[in-house]
Subunit: 323 residues, 2 copies
């Protein structure tokens, strides 16, 4: 069994090859561009870890890892068009360089390639692999639509539970499914598959809460992003939505005015409101709640504890950044 870092190195070595033919070059350069922007390759490595939790690594876990990483990158290309995002990881997005038509088409061809990978796994679990993958893939699309729907609503109109559901779909189900897909390849039964799926889903939500927290309260030098970036663009985050719930009427009115008028000291004043309604303390507890739910599911998996160590270390690494 290998650590997260060892598996990242192993996966990247075979993923960083040429994925596409050369022609038509506009199409395939666009597809190659997003893969060159990089990323932590968390999802495919979760697939390898899900496999290794139950059995020795099987080549199919690399095929499925390739598929989930290609799928993730496909969603980035299309989401960036929908969000009109000029940059990703400090580099120009695909549609910025190649135009919307080639970017749409590059995403499409990546999504089709996903199924070329899935089609290569052993027949005995192919149906299950495609079915688990597809459920997650559809939910990711639904999550993106809900996110756009919520962005068009007033913050107080968005129910907290609906928001958690959206975040789960948009960001967590693919992490969860990656683990489950690996577990299927490793021979896990239905019960263990469900546990590892829920472990991944809850870790994903805890991670998103932490991400929102760090955007507001983190040290920008350590976090690598502008502090209050979400606040500046009125992004609907865990913090903002919960703050609207926790605030008294006067604070709520102040928060709305800040969002509508965007004064120069907007970030500081919103942060003051976040502190006064104690949404910062709430976020830390909420993150712990999901982390707790995740670890309980990891405990329930019927394998030797020592096999779970790499996943515990990964969760610790993901959920204790910048502290």
């Amino acid at each position: 069994m290998q650590s997260f870092k060892e598996l990242v190195a192993q996966f990247s070595q075979q993923f960083d090859q040429q994925h596409f033919p050369e022609e038509p070059c506009q199409l395939y350069n666009a597809a190659t561009h997003i893969l060159g922007i990089g990323g932590k390759r968390i999802r495919p490595v979760l697939c390898l870890m899900g496999n290794e939790l139950f059995d020795t690594l099987h080549p199919d876990a690399f095929q499925v890892g390739n598929a989930v990483e290609l799928f993730h990158n496909f969603t980035l290309v299309h989401d960036d068009i929908m969000d009109k995002a000029p940059l990703r990881r400090g580099k120009p997005t695909v549609h910025t360089v190649y135009g919307d038509p080639a970017a749409i088409l590059a995403g499409d061809v990546m999504l089709i390639n996903v199924y070329d990978r899935l089609n290569k796994v052993q027949p005995r679990y192919k149906q299950k692999i495609i079915s688990v993958f597809n459920k997650a893939a559809i939910e990711v699309c639904e999550g993106q639509q809900l996110d756009m729907d919520f962005e068009a609503m007033e913050p107080e109109e968005v129910q907290y539970d609906s928001y958690v559901n959206m975040i789960g779909l948009k960001t967590s189900v693919l992490l969860a499914a990656s683990l489950q897909l690996g577990a299927i390849i490793g021979g896990a039964g239905e019960g263990n598959q469900e546990h590892i799926y829920q472990f991944g889903k809850n870790i994903g939500i805890a991670f998103q809460i932490q991400d929102d927290y760090l955007d507001a309260f983190g040290d920008p030098e350590k976090f690598g992003k502008q502090q209050g970036g979400d606040i500046l663009v009125n992004k609907k985050t865990f913090l903002l939505l919960k703050a609207f719930e926790l605030c008294n009427p006067a604070e709520r009115a102040a928060l709305k005015t800040l969002m509508e008028t965007s004064p120069d000291d907007k970030v500081d004043r919103v942060l003051d409101l976040f502190h006064s309604c104690k949404v910062d303390a709430w976020a830390e507890k909420e993150k712990e709640r999901f982390q707790e739910l995740a670890f309980r599911r990891l405990e329930d998996i019927a394998v030797l504890s020592k096999r779970k160590m790499p996943l515990m270390e990964l969760a610790d690494y993901l959920l204790n950044r910048q502290q």
Copy 2:
């Protein structure tokens, strides 16, 4: 064995049901919108006919038929965004009604649903079905990119063979693959699969030549489109590209000027040039050439001639409209 019309009725009956859940409604209403615009359902029926050429109809042919029809509609949604098309079959396009983001996402979710259908076929030919489908799906994307590349070029820069290749990818490989997918379900061997594929591909190209011909020379009342629609927008068609090759230098200069200046009598004057360089006669011969190639492949298929009747009737129906 059934005729094309009987199979269309049988397919449509089970296809015209609710394909998607209700929520998120923006996403799924967008996906449902394109299916409601209708269409001749040629591709899925080719799948049924490919099956029936070799064996009695199997339910898997309906699953795969659903998949190819969903895929075809996915390409329409995304192509209409890329082409900024306001109308399709006289109805507003998906992105016009629901906006680009929901239209991109609706296409994505339809494409994922395609593989839910393909995942339902029997394991004994699932790998082959997905692999044949994927090859065609990728080629359709490549064809769309090449089409956009060619549209940005001067007509005399586009090589005729490259153009035929692009049309084959964009419009014919899915027809060809639909027949082959049905043949696989019907138990056809590799040789017969290749024959029926080439039959479909050549019929598709012949059909496209006819379509270009009718757009220029057809009776607009019978054809149901504005005469010279392609000429008005300088669309690169078989006729235009070949006319550039057949024209003398003076005619070529006149054609270029007409394209650049678009005078009121553009259609008539371009048609005069088409007549004088005899591209109309060429197009009829070229269509016959591909039709001939197709029928030779149909003859080569090792089944009783009477089983081929529905396909011959369909080809006749498709290739002898408006005459």
